[in-house]
Symmetry: C2
Subunit: 195 residues, 2 copies
DNA sequence: TCCATTTCCAACGTCAACGTTGGAAGTAAC
DNA sequence: GTTACTTCCAACGTTGACGTTGGAAATGGA
């Protein structure tokens, strides 16, 4: 039987996303990742170093995905409310990213990997808001960096404390998800409207 | 030397808050809690059952504290912006609660302890918003449950993903905290303003 | 076909947390 | 001071994850 190095790496990464998102850096074991991927755990150490490095790699990959799937140029031309709706949709469809970010915030906080690169990633979003403000499409009452951050909070908080969301709003039926999305869009527009 | 059962329990609970907030349910070990409290771990099992029960107890205590320290009756008479500011302040001063809630959301989600009691806790807040809406002090564009939830998101997101906040807004100086608080208050008012 | 290289795994020693137990030390009632 | 009870801990066996190692199986070039 032929080797399939790339396939093995892919299996490991896929399993790692699941495990890290589900159990976090501490709760995840290399053994489970390896078992789930159908390989020996030595492969994980050999290909990706330790747990920490693997976590960083997984997070980097997921951030690349969201940047690809929910792009934004400028809120001078794009509706920021609809953007927030798309972010909400993304979180709902791919809960992993948000979970990974929150695990990271809880477990690491300081000493985040790839910090410089990620700072740049966010600076594009801030620039898109600043551009919208300059063109009069968004309020100037809030600074651009805070405005984008708060918009992300409206879209992301639901999955950050899902148990609280459930206790306040009731169970997560499909109808409730629609209602939530509509609230996120409406709230974002209220937050960002000029004048 | 005399026994001090209550004191021992207090020490354990205090240590448990620190450890759980810092490391979460998985990352926390009963051994470390016991060591920090200066007692044998058998005491922990004897007084509080296992790790899970202790976590539930700690969270319950912290929720009682915030309910006491940031009370609210009705947003018909109280400014919801200032309320959000107080929630922000509370999170900044007592990061434990937010961290515990996020650990809980990540580690347990379904199967939250004391769910009924906590649902009631939140229903008071929703009622305060509904009252504000009935008196024309708050917008009716958003449902009361979603509005309070989103307001809490504006106040809480900063500590939920502190690393993201840092990358977007820069380091957490005292000035930056002031700016954040002001943004939370302003954003909440924009979100909730009637008409 | 032979040999160097790469991929892969079973098995290992180490370490730390789990939850429990047997009994010592302290307290209170009589 | 004897008895009954409570508080406390040292020590235990068990389990599971860590990261490593020695070598087997597969590959590809000479």
């Amino acid at each position: 039987m032929a080797w399939d190095t790339e396939g093995t790496k892919r299996s490991i990464l896929d399993a790692a996303v699941d495990e890290f998102a589900a159990h976090g850096p501490d709760g995840t074991t290399i053994e489970r990742i390896a078992r789930k991927a159908g390989v020996n755990k030595e492969r994980v150490y050999n290909y990706f170093g330790g747990k920490r490095e693997l976590f960083a790699r997984v997070l980097r990959d997921e951030l690349a995905k969201v940047a690809r799937d929910v792009p934004v140029e400028s809120f001078a031309t794009e509706d920021i409310g609809e953007y927030a709706g798309r972010v909400y949709d993304y979180h709902r469809l791919h809960p992993e990213l948000g979970r990974l970010l929150r695990w990271e915030g809880l477990a690491f906080d300081a000493a985040v990997p790839d910090e410089e690169q990620r700072r740049e990633h966010y600076s594009y979003k801030t620039a898109a808001v600043a551009d919208g403000q300059e063109h009069g499409a968004l309020t100037r009452e809030l600074d651009a960096d805070h405005l984008i951050f708060l918009v992300l909070s409206l879209a992301g908080w639901w999955s950050a404390v899902p148990q609280v969301a459930r206790m306040i709003t009731g169970d997560e039926t499909e109808a409730e998800h629609q209602r939530r999305r509509a609230s996120v869009v409406a709230a974002t527009r209220r937050l960002a409207a000029p004048g």
